[in-house]
């Protein structure tokens, strides 16, 4: 191979951890070619395309020989990107009860386009007429007040970029055998948007909080009529009554016309279709803060009010179902996030966790937002296991699965944030594996669907 020398030079000059992980400064070096990672579907499609396009002239492709399409009033993705879609799994009897997963493995950057933001609905997406939607704030307040959407649009707004992650994201990780889905289709109940709206503290100051108010019960205008209890200090700190998502009005499936956004706290608390806030001195003990969204421990006790999303990371490429066609230089990339603050570093391993090296973090690194990491990797064609491990600014380190299971058992269902392993085999095929010392027998326990 003519580039043997180059590969060896790369290893000797740049290796920072075992099995070919290279210094992230390599990204700055000019003229370095990274290999393409394909998904199996696109790899299979390529030969077909080549066989039928015999008249294709790459020097003057056909789309240069005729006028292009006219303008559109609302743009849509290229028809060649039709695989980049959410993956819904829903209850057969109640199709609006389920989830749709963000295809994180098919995306780059950090912002989730609105049409790909994950969904978790308990009984469907209401189509709300904003002219008929009102927010009531009442309870332990000086004045019980209604706000129309027209009213709310006149308030001073703020924007912030943050992730929202469902407490049930990655729950397949609790199963005894590794999930066989693509990375996003079992970890993509997490998305990242710029949310714009009114700080909740502004409206709470307007209604006037009574001294003994400690909790706020937030209620949605969907058919499930969701309600959740939220500590008042979070409401006063950074809660946002969001009206816009990535610059446009929030999509119906994400809470149109009004959503409560609680940066860093689990998705179910970010109540969509917000219609009512009741200030109280105690939590209401709703179904979704008792029977669900609580985590059973091996002791038989259950953790309740587990609001924070702990630090987590996920290599999005290469990841399950992808193919590395030949040995060479590849970019390992993924996302890290923490509900407690900024990501301070992401370590990557290519030898199953024996050695680690720090990945490049894409700036700007934002508080409680998706953080993109990247790492150059020289794959030698031999089996390898890739891992990523996030550390946040509190010093919290993302645990290995064995540690997490030791702490929490296997029946907590929610808040799974363990390190995820991608195994690259000698053919370049990538799959999800657990560490060797973990049980890998076919699971008899099916994934707890989360249906209600």
């Amino acid at each position: 191979m003519s580039n043997d020398k180059t590969e060896n030079d790369l290893i000797s000059d740049y290796q920072v951890a075992g099995n070919g992980l290279l210094d992230r400064r390599l990204f700055l070096k000019k003229g370095i070619q990274f290999g393409a990672i394909t998904t199996l579907a696109s790899a299979a499609a390529q030969p077909l395309q080549a066989a039928t396009d015999t008249d294709f002239n790459p020097a003057r492709p056909p789309w240069m020989n005729k006028p292009g399409d006219p303008f559109s009033i609302y743009g849509t993705p290229s028809k060649y990107e039709d695989r980049v879609v959410r993956f819904p799994t829903q209850n057969e009897a109640v199709p609006g009860n389920g989830v749709s997963w963000t295809p994180l493995h098919l995306m780059e950057g950090t912002i989730t386009p609105n049409g790909l933001h994950y969904e978790r609905h308990h009984n469907g997406v209401p189509q709300i007429d904003p002219a008929k939607h009102k927010l009531l704030i009442h309870g332990l307040v000086n004045k019980d007040l209604f706000f129309s959407m027209d009213d709310l649009l006149r308030y001073p707004m703020q924007s912030r970029i943050c992730f929202i992650e469902c407490g049930g994201n990655s729950n397949a990780g609790w199963n005894s055998s590794p999930s066989r889905s693509e990375a996003g289709y079992f970890n993509g109940m997490a998305s990242n948007s710029e949310w714009t709206g009114i700080p909740l503290s502004v409206l709470l100051n307007e209604v006037g909080i009574k001294k003994d108010a400690k909790w706020i019960i937030a209620e949605g205008a969907d058919a499930f009529n969701m309600q959740m209890s939220i500590p008042i200090e979070k409401a006063m700190d950074d809660a946002l009554l969001a009206i816009y998502q990535n610059g446009e009005k929030i999509r119906p499936e994400n809470g149109y016309p009004l959503r409560l956004v609680l940066p860093g706290w689990e998705g179910v608390l970010n109540v969509k279709w917000l219609r009512r806030l009741k200030l109280t001195n105690r939590p209401v003990m709703a179904r979704n803060e008792t029977s669900r969204y609580t985590e059973l421990l091996p002791s038989g006790k259950a953790r309740q009010f587990t609001f924070f999303i702990e630090a987590k990371s996920l290599i999005t490429s290469p990841s399950a179902h992808m193919l590395l066609k030949k040995p060479g230089l590849y970019q390992v990339t993924g996302l890290a996030w923490s509900g407690r603050g900024k990501i301070s570093k992401v370590d990557v391993s290519a030898d199953g966790g024996k050695t680690w090296a720090e990945a490049e973090l894409q700036e700007p690194v934002l508080d409680r937002a998706f953080t993109r990491f990247r790492m150059p990797w020289q794959w030698n064609g031999k089996p390898a296991i890739l891992k990523s491990r996030a550390t946040d600014e509190t010093g919290y380190v993302q645990p290995e699965r064995t540690e997490l299971v030791k702490q929490r058992g296997k029946h907590g269902f929610f808040h799974y944030n363990a390190i995820i392993n991608w195994q690259v085999d000698e053919d370049g095929f990538v799959s999800h594996v657990y560490d060797k010392d973990e049980q890998q027998t076919p699971s008899e326990i099916s994934i707890d669907s989360g249906w209600d």
Binding site: V202, E206, R287, K301, W451
Partner: protein, 183 residues
């Protein structure tokens, strides 16, 4: 048009509202809220607390609840609340919470009986939420508690009796948020 000094205006609003200046940067409110009447609040406020606050008048029996359950609930929640692929198991837990296959039912897991009434009234049945009367919700709640051996077959529940039912797993929860505040 009167030219207003916004800082001055804000300060006077804050003083009028009796709010400290700690949140001064976010209190620039145009004050557009409309007063809600007691009747409106009563109609909107459906939250029900473990001590019974918020429970409506009316009552329902286990026997009536069984009839409603057979019509409205059984398709998803199964015979005797044993659950199906479509809906949670609500009763009949055989395996304890520390077993390899813990069964989290109303009787084995839910900490408060009032939560059953609240979720049935606000969310159930999934195909026609809000369609049950308060009496029917009391009845379905009574039947579900009966299936979990928490009330007798001849029980009739109302706003006085429902919150008095002590759930077996009431003390089964650790307040993770409170623990954070302490530590």
């Amino acid at each position: 048009m009167i030219k207003m000094n916004s800082k001055h205006l804000l300060k006077s609003v804050l003083i009028a509202a009796g709010i400290s200046s700690a949140h001064a940067d976010v209190t620039q409110s145009p004050q557009l809220g409309h007063a809600a009447t007691a009747e409106e609040i009563a109609a909107w406020d459906t939250s029900i607390f473990p001590d019974g606050e918020g429970l409506p008048d009316g009552n329902g029996s286990v026997t009536d609840g069984e009839v409603i359950y057979q019509q409205q609930c059984i398709a998803c929640h199964g015979e005797n609340g044993l659950g199906t692929q479509l809906g949670d198991q609500l009763a009949g837990a055989q395996m304890g919470l520390t077993s390899d296959y813990p069964e989290k039912t109303i009787g084995s897991y839910w900490p408060y009986a009032t939560t059953v009434f609240d979720v049935v009234r606000r969310s159930m049945p999934m195909t026609a939420p809000g369609s049950l009367t308060d009496d029917e919700v009391y009845a379905v709640t009574a039947y579900l508690l009966y299936l979990n051996n928490l009330v007798d077959k001849d029980a009739v529940l109302d706003k006085a009796s429902l919150p008095k039912i002590k759930m077996p797993n009431e003390d089964g929860f650790i307040d993770a948020y409170k623990l954070e505040e302490i530590n």
